[in-house]
């Protein structure tokens, strides 16, 4: 009776756990196993030759993959920094009770709700060298058109991503701002802090925990973007916008090297895992510190 009772919760959870395990772990294991094979899409996984770490080693020295990794890093780091600056800036500006502000806030988060493929198409048309919105506008005021998706492809892609994902940081920062202790800000005003000093010395430091987690989330996401870039540039011109996710898909479909593609995915996975662990470590660190402070108070009675 007693043991049955103790086991009951696990029994109820078992079906869900099994399904989760199958859905998550099976594909993951499949991919990891695949990354050790020299595997052509026409072969079944059993027919492929086992090559050990050859795929990983080849990739490590492959200049194309390295470039792709470089593009991904540049892309991810620049979008996250730009989005943080703009998103937090907007939140600081719009954190006030003026009429119409709620409408404005709603408008600001619209880009986030649009499907990535649509965003890609939209920006591709706007960037079009002759009939695109930007160049038509530039020409109408007498300026040279810009070769958006040619010479400046990476920048253009970064701009599109900033447009789509700044709202994410904006709403999270706004929520963080609005939950700041009101009276601490009032105390700062009385202590003589200007608006700018309140932002620098009080608001930003107090928002920091939220900002760090938000930035890590965005970074993880930015490493995985695919659709927008696929639609806008297909990685070109050359390899200039070929992020890792795109290279993986091309390696698997165009170059027909499933093993290499799987190895690439694993590199990306390791990178993302590191970021995720960093994020968890950060939140755990925060919790531990709060707990330690609380204990310190208690011990003194």
């Amino acid at each position: 009776m007693n043991t049955a009772n103790r086991l009951a919760p696990y029994m109820f959870m078992a079906p869900a756990a099994v399904i989760m395990g199958l859905c998550l772990l099976y594909p993951l294991g499949y991919m990891i196993y695949g990354s050790f094979l020299d595997w052509n899409p026409s072969q079944s996984i059993g027919e492929a030759d086992f090559v050990g770490f050859k795929n990983y080693i080849n990739l490590f020295f492959d200049p194309a993959f390295r470039e792709s990794l470089g593009v991904t890093l540049t892309f991810a780091v620049s979008v996250v920094i730009a989005e943080l600056v703009i998103g937090v800036g907007l939140a600081l500006l719009l954190d006030r009770n003026i009429r119409g502000m709620s409408l404005l806030r709603t408008l600001f988060i619209l880009p986030m709700m649009i499907a990535p493929v649509v965003v890609g198409l939209m920006w591709r048309y706007m960037y079009h060298p002759t009939v695109g919105t930007f160049n038509r506008f530039l020409k109408s005021i007498g300026l040279e058109g810009v070769d958006w998706l040619g010479q400046n492809a990476l920048l253009s892609v970064i701009i599109a991503d900033i447009w789509q994902w700044t709202p994410f940081i904006f709403i999270l920062s706004l929520a963080a701002l609005q939950s700041l202790p009101r009276s601490a800000l009032e105390a700062a005003r009385i202590d003589g802090a200007t608006n700018w000093q309140q932002i620098v010395y009080i608001k930003i430091p107090l928002m920091m925990p939220v900002l760090i987690v938000t930035a890590l989330l965005r970074l993880i996401d930015a490493f995985k973007v695919l659709e927008v870039i696929l639609v806008m540039t297909e990685g070109g011109p050359g390899l200039s916008t070929e992020i890792v996710a795109l290279r993986i898909s091309r390696t698997a479909t165009e170059f027909r090297e499933l093993g290499t593609a799987a190895a690439m995915s694993n590199y990306l996975l390791i990178l993302l895992l590191l970021l995720t662990v960093a994020m968890f470590a950060f939140t755990r660190f925060q919790d531990a510190r709060a707990a330690r402070l609380a204990r310190q108070v208690q011990e003194e009675g």
Binding site: S183, A184, E186, I190, D191, G192, Y201, L293, V297
Partner: protein
């Protein structure tokens, strides 16, 4: 170091007026306590002085200079908040020195100042703690130290002790009273605790419903309340109120209720208008003395219902006919529940209020 004057101060939130023309003058180095029930507008008044709330109409003068258009930082005041409002990410020293650092004072000066005020409030050992690692009382001290460090002439407190437990509150109150002796500042202190008000204030301002009911020294307000509200608000246990009629008999004046008839002292009777009849008699619990052989016209006969023992004193809840009356009494007085006892009323303890206007007569 400043004289503050509020002139016809009005606060409106939308169409709701919560302060109706507050007129108040606070002399240099005066400790003013704003006291009143919840929602009467104490905090709003204080926050308007601080510049945290806009002034709807009227004006605030400091040393004759209008300040209602100034930012809080330009008003030269320090404030202690009810929830302390410490900067959670700064340690105690950082909290105390924030204002000085913003003013870009030289480092050695800041350090000396932090050390000095930390000593005043007894925080020297905690300078490198974050607020989260401090107890409520310690946080309170940090808030106080932060305000002291600013060296401003005006000190505002919004219920600074209300988040502390009873014992700590008493202790901090005593410390405040000591600090008050040495710190020469103009202090405005908001509380709804009348004991804090009575012990700390040079001048008490009793507020109710957005109006000032009365202001003056604690003694003045206690002895000569301007109306029934003030009389009932100050003093613990609160004043007893009994409805009665004025009866004039030859050259003596009485107040007669359902089950009592008390003589009004002559000097008081002389000031009463001949037309007043309906009154409320107010008697503080401490103005009733157990005295079995007192004469009829100076005594109340009370039936003891409940006795609350609170140490040296006991509080008796009694019935006087249909009315409730509380009495304060030395605990050793032998009394039994259900007994009817006679209590003499001290003649100067009889307060009379007009029944319709509730003003003191």
């Amino acid at each position: 170091m400043a004289e503050i004057r509020l002139e016809k101060l009005v606060k409106r939130y939308g169409s709701v007026e919560v302060l109706h023309g507050i007129e108040l003058e606070m002399a240099d180095n005066e400790f003013t306590v704003l006291v009143g029930p919840s929602g009467c507008g104490k905090s709003t008044t204080l926050r308007m002085i601080a510049g945290l709330e806009s002034v709807s109409s009227g004006e605030i003068y400091v040393d004759g200079r209008p300040i209602s258009h100034l930012d809080p930082k330009d008003r030269g005041l320090a404030m202690v908040f009810q929830d302390y409002a410490l900067y959670p990410h700064m340690d105690v020293a950082g909290n105390i020195s924030f204002a000085l650092r913003l003013q870009k004072r030289p480092k050695p000066e800041i350090q000396a100042k932090v050390k000095e005020v930390a000593e005043v409030v007894g925080l020297t050992d905690f300078l490198h703690r974050k607020p989260a690692a401090l107890s409520g009382g310690q946080r309170q001290r940090v808030a106080m130290a932060r305000a002291l460090a600013k060296d401003s002439g005006i000190f505002l407190f919004d219920e600074p002790l209300s988040n502390l437990d009873a014992k700590l509150r008493g202790q901090m109150r005593a410390e405040l009273a000591v600090m008050r002796q040495t710190v020469q500042k103009n202090m405005i202190y908001v509380t709804h605790d009348q004991i804090e008000a009575m012990t700390l204030a040079d001048r008490i301002v009793v507020m109710h419903g957005g109006y000032i009911q009365q202001q003056g020294s604690p003694e003045e307000l206690f002895k000569r309340p301007a109306n029934k509200f003030v009389a009932g608000f100050l003093g613990s246990p609160p004043m007893n109120f009994l409805e009665a009629e004025l009866v004039r008999d030859a050259d003596r004046t009485f107040v007669q209720g359902a089950s009592f008839k008390l003589e009004v002292p002559e000097d008081k009777a002389a000031t009463l208008a001949a037309t007043t009849r309906q009154v409320i008699v107010g008697i503080r619990p401490s103005d009733l003395n157990f005295s079995a052989d007192a004469e009829d016209q100076v005594a109340l006969d009370l039936k003891v219902r409940v006795s609350e023992y609170i140490g040296a004193q006991s509080v008796l809840l009694c019935a006087c006919g249909q009315d409730d009356v509380t009495v304060e009494l030395k605990s050793e007085t032998p009394i039994a529940l259900g007994e009817t006892l006679r209590f003499a009323v001290r003649p100067e303890g009889i307060h009379l209020f007009d029944r319709s206007t509730e003003r003191a007569l």
